[in-house]
């Protein structure tokens, strides 16, 4: 039921991508996004597609996960393709009916945009598939630490994110339990009008809120008992370190970006 929702689901593994430093992975993901937006034509975008596929192969993540990560953005994909098809009116006309005109440019742009969005989502979900949430927030904290100079509470934000991520499965489990308990008392959540269904959520949300607050209080107390006082002077059990694999990864991404730029310049339609 609720457990099927994947929020940045992490697949433990030993691939080179799993072994990379999370900071480097974050930066390279940004570089990857830049790469996709640098691509100006189908050929250079093709390089982006090849990059995405090859990286997936290296990462050992099952291919069906690609489909899974695409499922939630299907509406966006369909919406953008339809818009592009309908509103780009230049190029050769393929088909015309009243005010609707499908043109070659429209088809090209629709395909181009769709492929770009697919690559964007598939490629960047690789980051969360191969990095544990803790590593991810650690990396983020380190990357953002220069902002401390201008008094941005980087550590606190990262800690909040870590806690939030940590409690998502717990809350899902709790919601499942409360739902089962109220169903056992005959609560009906599946039928009736929208208003009736919204009202049926009350018996679930109230206990959930109550227990979340209780949990938050207990957690705060437990953290204080262990002398937590913010990021000041805090050291880490796991130090982030860069290895050879990170350097290779950086070069690998750089090579593909160079490829995209070169194809942009030399291969024209």
């Amino acid at each position: 039921m609720l457990k099927d929702i994947t929020i940045g689901q992490f697949f433990p593994g030993k691939s080179p991508i799993h072994r990379m430093d999370s900071r480097v992975k974050l930066l390279l993901t940004v570089a990857f996004i830049v790469m996709l937006f640098l691509a100006k034509n189908m050929y250079s975008l093709g390089i982006g597609v090849i990059f995405t596929l090859v990286t997936y192969l290296i990462s050992d993540i099952p291919f069906k996960m690609i489909l899974k990560s695409l499922k939630p953005i299907m509406p966006i994909l369909i919406f953008t393709s339809i818009l592009n098809l309908l509103f780009i009116r230049t190029g050769d006309v393929y088909w015309e009916w009243k005010i609707i005109k499908i043109t070659s440019d429209g088809v090209d742009t629709a395909v181009f945009m769709t492929v770009r969005i697919i690559c964007l989502i598939v490629g960047s979900s690789l980051l969360t598939y191969t990095t544990s949430p803790i590593d991810l927030t650690d990396g983020l904290e380190k990357l953002l630490s220069p902002l401390k100079k201008i008094r941005v509470p980087v550590h606190e934000l990262a800690m909040m994110m870590t806690i939030a991520l940590r409690f998502i499965p717990t809350l899902i489990e709790e919601t499942d339990k409360i739902m089962a308990a109220q169903k056992a008392r005959g609560a009906d959540m599946e039928t009736g009008s929208i208003i009736k269904r919204a009202k049926a959520l009350v018996p679930i949300l109230i206990p959930l809120f109550v227990s979340s607050f209780r949990r938050a209080e207990e957690l705060a107390l437990a953290m204080e008992c262990r002398c937590y006082h913010g990021g000041e002077g805090r050291t880490r059990l796991k130090q982030l370190k860069m290895h050879l694999v990170d350097l290779i990864a950086a070069l690998y991404v750089a090579a593909f970006i160079a490829g995209v730029v070169l194809v942009n310049i030399y291969v024209k339609k």
Binding site: A181, R185, G186
Partner: protein
């Protein structure tokens, strides 16, 4: 006719994923009406999964369940009606309280059943009285009560639906000894009064031995045995190999027997044990004045 019957009931968690786990494995079970059943088993032995099948919260991977002769999952629309027949009280039920007052919370189940106002009122007051909830408590917010009181209100919320079968998953966990025996005593009182079937999932052999007429032992997703306490606790060594223990008092008497003081075999409650001990003491004193 048996009130609950299962045929080759199997439930698998996470089918098709690496986390696949058989939680209930090919279980055949028949439960007669009016019994007070204790369900025991190690953590992860499948007790909780099994009981969630009885009121249609979980759909079996294979096999079938009959409640009162009616097959579950044949007609999905009947599921709600079945849930009113089989009341299920989860572990830590106080976390599901949500209404402004205890009265309203207890009335939530009966209201869902579509009963009339008077009937709801009657049931709420009756259950509250039976379960030691005062009128003053009924008007309070459930969040003002103590842990044990909250627990009682939550259990009363299910009881007020007057289910044919009442299933309680560790109703006494996390309470102090006093609250524990109070809750269990009240549940027994309810059973005596209503003559309904009650199923009590518990970790405590003492509790099960004290209250139940029959005991269902689960071990690694299967039923190890379903029998009277005498027969179940007679298999002490097998129970121990499963990581379960017989009641402490039984262990004491088994040890005494091993030491050469055979005072009787079927000692499962402290009260009975005390009687036996006193009897034998008296005999001894009478024998050598």
């Amino acid at each position: 006719m048996s009130v609950i019957k299962t045929e080759a009931l199997t439930y698998v968690y996470g089918e098709g994923t690496p986390f696949r786990k058989v939680a209930v494995d090919n279980v055949d079970l028949e439960i007669e009406e009016g019994e007070f059943i204790g369900v025991i088993g190690h953590t992860g032995s499948g007790k909780s999964t099994l009981i969630q099948h009885f009121n249609g919260l979980l759909k079996p991977t294979s096999g079938s369940i009959y409640i009162d002769g009616e097959k579950l999952w044949e007609d999905k629309a009947r599921l709600r009606a079945i849930r009113f027949k089989v009341g299920l009280v989860f572990q830590y039920p106080e976390y599901q309280l949500f209404e402004e007052t205890c009265y309203k919370d207890i009335a939530f189940g009966p209201k869902n059943m579509g009963l009339s106002e008077e009937e709801i009122d009657k049931r709420v007051r009756e259950t509250a009285k039976l379960f030691g909830i005062s009128d003053a408590m009924l008007e309070k917010s459930p969040f003002e009560l103590s842990g044990g009181q909250k627990r009682r209100v939550a259990i009363a919320g299910v009881m007020a639906m007057e289910p044919k079968v009442l299933i309680l998953d560790e109703p006494a966990s996390g309470l102090d000894p006093k609250g524990r025996s109070k809750i269990l005593g009240l549940i027994r009182e309810y059973h005596r009064e209503k003559k309904n079937t009650v199923m009590l999932v518990s970790h405590s052999m003492e509790d099960v031995a004290k209250h139940c007429s029959r005991i269902l032992v689960m071990n690694s997703a299967k039923i190890f045995c379903y029998d009277t306490p005498v027969n179940v606790f007679g298999r002490a060594s097998e129970l121990e190999s499963m990581g379960l223990a017989v009641p402490q008092i039984t262990r004491v008497f088994n040890r005494l027997k091993a030491l050469g003081h055979d005072l009787g075999d079927e000692v499962y409650t402290v009260g009975y044990g005390k009687e036996l001990l006193l009897n034998s003491l008296r005999k001894k004193q009478g024998g050598e004045p």
